[in-house]
């Protein structure tokens, strides 16, 4: 039976080992072992997180800096290994923890699109199919055979962003990258996100409550590695703003 959930997360825990002294060296590691010092302290970043995302849901994750949002996205994207808990992902997941990962200034725009595509798990034939759409969305047709280092930073981010939203995955994950570029391009991005609502499963992390209210069909508020509110975007946005009131 095909599940109606795109993502199911159960009792997810993740902690990091933070080095206490400077332990980045063989010598220090050696002395730490001799002295019986662990050399690190454990910091729990995600404490027992459970939630499910329905197919087609546009989920916003909000919370203060350091509350565990990005760690959660990285665990979902399989970049980090969880300490315990279960994650079930139905379908292909395309994560954008950052735009333009692997972009190389010495390669041309076109070469970068293919490299980025390969890193995201797309074959050259699949990138071929998306390529024209990516370029036209980015409005960079005349520049694709130029080296990326000759692009303005706005052009680079537009190209990266276009790859992100044109990459056809079942689940799209975006960290803090909702609208980029000038006003006209931002408007285009907003239109695009509105059109996604109800069609594509999207998970975004953002600090912009206007965007949460505008795009999301559901939102989650994370505080100290725990979900403290889950549901209606308006209410979650309110709860988020309340965090800063006292």
């Amino acid at each position: 039976m095909r599940s109606s959930y795109a993502i199911e997360v159960k009792n997810l825990k993740k902690s990091f080992k933070l080095p206490t002294e400077k332990a980045a060296g063989l010598k220090q590691a050696f002395f730490n072992t001799l002295k019986g010092v662990k050399g690190y302290t454990k910091q729990e970043v995600l404490k027992n997180i459970s939630f499910r995302v329905k197919k087609g849901e546009f989920l916003g994750i909000v919370g203060r800096n350091g509350s565990g949002k990005s760690t959660l996205l990285k665990v979902l994207s399989k970049i980090y290994v969880p300490d315990s808990g279960k994650i079930k992902i139905n379908g292909s997941l395309v994560p954008f923890i950052e735009l333009g990962v692997g972009f190389n200034p010495e390669l041309t725009g076109k070469e970068n699109v293919y490299l980025n595509g390969a890193l995201l798990g797309f074959s050259n034939a699949e990138v071929d199919k998306m390529y024209d759409e990516i370029v036209s969305f980015a409005e960079l047709e005349p520049f694709m055979n130029q080296k990326l280092k000759n692009y303005s930073s706005g052009m680079q981010i537009r190209l990266a962003f276009s790859i992100a939203i044109r990459a056809k995955g079942d689940i799209l994950i975006l960290d803090e990258v909702l609208a980029v570029g000038d006003a006209a391009f931002q408007e285009k991005c907003n239109e695009y996100f509105k059109s996604l609502k109800g069609e594509q499963t999207v998970i975004i992390v953002t600090h912009d409550m206007e965007n949460v209210k505008r795009f999301c069909s559901r939102a989650i508020l994370i505080e100290n590695g725990e979900i403290i509110k889950d549901g209606n975007p308006e209410k979650v946005a309110e709860a988020y703003l309340d965090l800063f009131k006292n």
């Binding site: 980045a24 994207s77 994560p95 293919y114 074959s123």
Partner: protein, 270 residues
């Protein structure tokens, strides 16, 4: 890494894209470009040839000594490039590992494949030199790829092992640079093995237990002159003859095991 997934379609594409990029970027911005892949070993060979063959008069009793020397240098350079690039590649690509989930060993595989391509280019030059200096094609040339594969597996295993430790302890990179310098003098590359056997037969046998020495001598035997003293002939004990091969397999297994264990946490440790 599960065996069935090792080179599935997705990984193949990623490997080829990363390798292409590596190769494109290596000689980026230089006037001679790819030609450097050829010029570098030739210059190195020129220097060593003048010093060792002309001034120190090594290898006067070995036919085609210049090519004999060149083969050794080319293979050694491959070993150095393969291990160094393999170790550093994980640091260079740290940005990717922190942002995207993909099999990490592809990074090492791509870096070592680039070294393998360079070796391929260099070997073409070796063959041209060999033909010019009077060696002629024979069937034993066909064995050369097997020995190169052996050397590659050794380098790949070392790169996996050292690279995965280097992610957390960057000292490894520096230690390896010194170690490899020392190792260079234990391999009969600039000096003929005959010089060692003349001093001590036992020492020569010990040196030949090293798989790099074994591969270098075997390739010289196949490619240039059957006068080459190989480990197989020098070491009498039938079990000891297989030591170099066992070392390669051992290091490869160790490398894969350690890498598999550590690579899960690269993204957070780097």
């Amino acid at each position: 890494m599960k065996m069935s997934e090792v080179l599935n379609r997705k990984n193949q594409i990623l490997l080829s894209e990363l390798t292409k990029t590596d190769f494109k970027l290596r000689y980026q911005g230089s006037i001679l470009g790819y030609l450097w892949a050829v010029i570098r070993p030739l210059l190195m060979f020129g220097i060593l040839y003048i010093v060792f063959a002309k001034f120190l008069r090594f290898g006067t009793d070995i036919p085609h000594y210049p090519v004999y020397l060149l083969v050794g240098i080319v293979l050694w350079n491959f070993f150095v490039e393969c291990t160094n690039q393999g170790i550093q590649s994980l640091i260079i690509r740290s940005d990717l590992m922190r942002k995207i989930a993909f099999p990490k060993w592809i990074i090492v595989l791509s870096a070592t494949t680039t070294a393998l391509i360079n070796l391929g280019i260099n070997l073409i030059i070796v063959v041209i030199f060999a033909l010019i200096s009077g060696a002629s094609f024979n069937l034993s040339w066909l064995l050369v790829p097997f020995f190169i594969f052996e050397l590659y597996l050794l380098s790949f295993g070392l790169a996996l092992f050292l690279g995965s430790i280097n992610v957390k302890y960057r000292d490894i990179q520096s230690i390896w640079e010194v170690l490899i310098q020392a190792l260079f003098y234990t391999v009969p590359i600039i000096y003929p093995l005959g010089m060692v056997t003349a001093l001590s037969g036992f020492a020569a046998k010990v040196l030949m237990l090293n798989p790099i020495a074994q591969v270098v001598q075997d390739i010289r035997f196949c490619l240039i002159t059957t006068d080459t003293m190989t480990g197989w002939v020098l070491i009498e004990n039938i079990f000891l003859k297989f030591i170099p091969l066992l070392v390669v397999v051992g290091i490869l297994i160790l490398g894969i095991k350690v890498f598999n264990k550590k690579s899960k946490y690269f993204a957070e440790e780097i």
